[in-house]
Amino acid sequence: MTDNDGQRFDRLPATAAEREVAGRASRAEVIDWWVDRFGLDADTFDGYTFWEKGAGKIWIFAADLPSPVDCEGVGMTFLRTRQEHWKPTTNAVQRFGGAATRNVIELDPDEARRFLAGEDLTPAWDGDWGYLLVAHRIAGEREPIGVGLYVHDELRSVVPKGRRASLPTRE
């Protein structure tokens, strides 16, 4: 086992048995986490490659390149690992969370607006604690907004500052 070099992109090993870098998540573990957590189809991520840069930041990439690759980015940030509770990114939840069937909390219009602004909420929820996919209804369908951390009867908005917005109330 070697140590993680946080300055470069390395492709994840396919499975834990092929792991060469200590603490690195495998492709199978990353996909299993998303599929299990949100009830997605098992083939949702077929054809994507997964990369680590930094301490546990996982990227999802629709193409493939020789590893390690000297780039500023490959695809989009997807998941934070190397911590007790893995955390999906806002952008990945928006991109891949539309088909989620589990751990999805749907907010009403006022709650959704406050969540996007970064406010913590106390919505009704009797499911698991942890990172939830936060959605609302728009143009007739449910659509993911981002990620919330549900603990102690409170939903904490973890929408990153650059994606927060204070939307006007429209009637």
């Binding site: 994507y48 990439f61 780039c71 500023e72 980015g73 695809g75 989009m76 952008n91």
Partner: protein, 310 residues
């Protein structure tokens, strides 16, 4: 004297040209089909009471007569992206297919790059390069908000961009020895953005035009070299200066194995000029498209399409 007066001898209707340059631009957004459909984006704008109308040349390019592009739910979801109407042209002219390998040589802040990704259905490989590290963060932010997963972002000088990190020369099945298409949306003197940036002329000088033209030639040459025979390269700028447009094409036609091809443009424009300031260019530069602000009530633009090794 403003830089615009330099070009009045080229313009078909000087009064309309001047008047258009003095008007502000309307807010325009592109619907991001990676994350939604045009119909759903328009439904969402309707339900928020945001007036919008499709442009007469593209159903996914919408004018917002009363609103700014941000601060609404469709924007928060990455369904729409503020992008000047005419700047939607080069990616459409390049017209990549899903699965293609495409290089955007001067990608930041990423409006055209993310449009290329959408045209590719977010499949294949899109290499978004920019030499300015500060501007790369805007590219990354836009690509993430719009849900682009097929992009590799690089920070190199496009003039000597290496394909080695993409596996060039290796026997890997995914190795990139050449791109199918390249977009060179070149850094330029930006005269055509005067409606958006009223201070665009403050830093204008002929020396700057000449110096940036040298950079443009270097980038376009490298783009032609890095594209496979039969592939295409689109060159675009937001300037009127022939030194940065037709003269750059003329140079690259001479130096590299490529030829200009006709553009099937959905926007009105006029052919490239074959003569300027006592210099004559290759007659095929007339296949390029010059768009003046009064033609379509947009910013000014220049766009040309090259076929490699044909």
């Amino acid at each position: 004297m403003t830089p615009l007066e330099r070009y009045e001898s080229l313009v078909d209707d000087v009064a309309a040209f001047r008047a258009a340059c003095d008007r502000p631009l309307p807010a325009v957004v592109r619907v991001n089909t990676i994350k939604t459909t045009v119909d759903r984006a328009r439904d969402a704008l309707d339900s928020e009471g945001i007036a919008h109308e499709p442009t007469d040349w593209h159903p996914g390019v919408l004018r917002l007569p009363e609103d700014s592009p941000g601060r609404n739910w469709p924007h928060a979801h990455g369904w729409i992206h503020g992008q000047e109407e005419v700047s939607n042209l080069p990616a459409l002219v390049l017209d990549p297919d899903p699965g293609d390998r495409v290089w955007d040589a001067c990608a930041a802040p990423g409006s055209k790059t993310t449009q290329l990704a959408a045209l590719m259905d977010d499949r294949g490989l899109l290499v978004g390069n920019d030499n300015n590290l500060g501007r790369l963060s805007a590219l990354r932010h836009n690509a993430e908000r719009l849900g682009v997963t097929n992009i590799a972002v690089t920070n190199r000088d496009a003039r000597n961009f290496s394909l080695k990190p993409l596996g060039e020369g290796s026997d890997r099945p995914t190795a990139v020895d050449a791109f199918d298409h390249a977009l060179v949306d070149a850094p330029c003197s930006c005269e055509g953005t005067i409606r958006k940036n009223p201070d665009a002329f403050d830093t204008w000088s002929l020396d700057h035009v000449r110096s940036v033209a040298g950079v443009q030639k270097g980038i376009l040459r490298r783009a032609v070299q890095a594209t496979r025979p039969g592939g295409t390269v689109v060159y675009s700028t937001c300037t009127f200066a022939p030194e940065e447009n037709e003269a750059v094409l003329d140079h690259v036609l001479d130096a590299e194995d490529c030829r200009l091809v006709d553009i099937d443009a959905p926007l009105e424009g006029v052919p490239g000029v074959t003569e300027w300031a006592g210099e004559r260019f290759d007659p095929s530069v007339a296949k390029a498209l010059r768009i003046y602000p009064h033609h379509n009530d947009t910013g000014g633009f220049f766009c040309a399409k090259l076929e490699v090794g044909a």
